[in-house]
Symmetry: C2
Subunit: 278 residues, 2 copies
């Protein structure tokens, strides 16, 4: 499972404040925490309205200095990406291209020049998909255009577009079925989701996020943009990888156990005295 | 998801002791706890060596008196079942038949007479299966013999035979693939697993059990013999059912949330003072 840390995203209030204040310490801390928690790549989103280019460029500089991880540039504006890509200097992913008119064609030169991996979103000009069929149609069109432009399947991460379950009870199953179908249709392709969208508007979001990830891993999902600092989620991934036969002699599972990563930490009330008011 | 409570099993030490001592209070308590936790059927296993018939008959009497749930008689001895079935008086399941010579034929009259549901184990005369292919072969033979004998697919629960992951890293994936394949091959059939076998010999068993169940639900599993008193497992099932589109407007998820069933209970140290030594 390829884990892309989601936390450096300027649509999150604290990150946006840090970006606007050019608070590099906070961003560095979030980058390092995600790496320590097991992220293998960091998503970086500089989407502050009107300032996306300079915000993304600043973020890339800070994050590159803080950790030695590849980055996933989270923007669908070619101009923003064109400005930020030269700063990355190494393996990079672009998040994302979709099936809107001309979108793939505009991105192809950048993808080729930087040998970038790319997230291919199952979304067309009509906006977010409604079910399985439009996900398959849009996804196939994007993948076919990318491969037609010389991009290898191994560099493409199909993303079926996770929508909040609170807005439609079939959204989850449509994503699961789309992953199963597209991973079969394009042998060698990868798949990824923006996981936490699924639980938006519902309580106990971590439970839904973790459960959804396991349902999708069972259909072939091999990457996700998620919160690597969610211990329970990461423990579930370790267990699922072992159960899916990808952990020889269960060695990684046993190491995670020895390192205390499979069980919740002791409650704060036992670990240290509660703070005293006043 | 059809939940069959696993706890009244005489291979568990405390249950065996209660059965041998004819301690009806303890058995009643375990039955009621499982019903309150959400079990829709209770597995009852009287497998005390040399005394299985009388132990199972006694257990059936005690459990029937304690709860109003259908029972799953856990024995592969036709004589034991023949003695216990008349005591059940209502909907019943037999756990299990397999592909050993003559096994299905011996069970068919009982299944028909009691209109019993039946767990069809993917296991042949050579013992536990080794991979996907022998699971499919044995499972198909059992199902074909059952349907050939007049049993409806809707009454058959195919069980791919869960083996401990600690004894073979491909056991999990073989079970998942077998469920996907058999549920597709026999539309209308059900599937079930004895869940907790998967984690035998490994640490943090509940994490593996819960993760495995979600991986299997994503392939079509619709029943399981499990510990319904494992709150985290039951919360995961609730989340998965919602994510798989079986919970209109997320109403069952939201009710479970309001009833406090989705989150762990507060640690005992917060709920009540710790016992004082001495």
């Amino acid at each position: 499972m390829f884990i892309i840390g989601e936390l450096i995203n300027s649509t999150r209030k604290r990150v946006r404040e840090a970006v606007l204040a050019r608070n590099a310490d906070y961003i560095r801390e979030v980058a390092i925490k995600q790496q320590q928690a097991g992220a293998q790549m960091l998503d970086v989103n500089g989407g502050v309205p009107g300032q996306e280019t300079e915000c993304l460029m600043w973020l890339v500089g800070v994050v590159k200095e803080a950790v030695d991880l590849p980055l996933c540039l989270d923007s669908n504006e070619p101009e923003v990406l064109r400005a930020a890509l030269p700063l990355v200097g190494g393996s990079v992913m672009i998040n994302s291209v979709n099936d809107e008119e001309g979108r793939v064609e505009t991105m192809l030169p950048l993808l080729r020049e930087y040998k970038a991996k790319v997230i291919a979103l199952c979304m067309g000009p009509a906006g977010p998909p409604k079910g399985l069929e439009d996900r398959l149609a849009a996804g196939s069109r994007v993948v076919d255009r990318l491969t037609g432009g010389g991009i290898a399947l191994d560099d493409i991460y199909i993303d079926p577009c996770v929508l909040p379950l609170s807005t439609g009870q079939q959204h989850g199953v449509a994503v699961a079925d789309a992953i199963g179908e597209l991973m079969t249709r394009y042998p060698g392709i990868h798949s990824s989701v923006g996981l936490s969208n699924v639980s938006f508007g519902l309580p106990v979001r971590k439970l839904l996020n973790e459960s959804f990830l396991l349902l999708l891993m069972s259909r072939g999902l091999d990457a996700a943009i998620l919160d690597p600092c969610d211990r329970q989620l990461m423990a579930g991934i370790t267990a699922a990888e072992t159960l899916l036969g990808r952990d020889k002699h269960c060695l990684r599972y046993l190491r995670a156990f020895r390192e205390g990563r499979l069980e919740p930490p002791p409650p704060a009330s036992l670990a240290s005295p509660a703070p005293v008011a006043g």
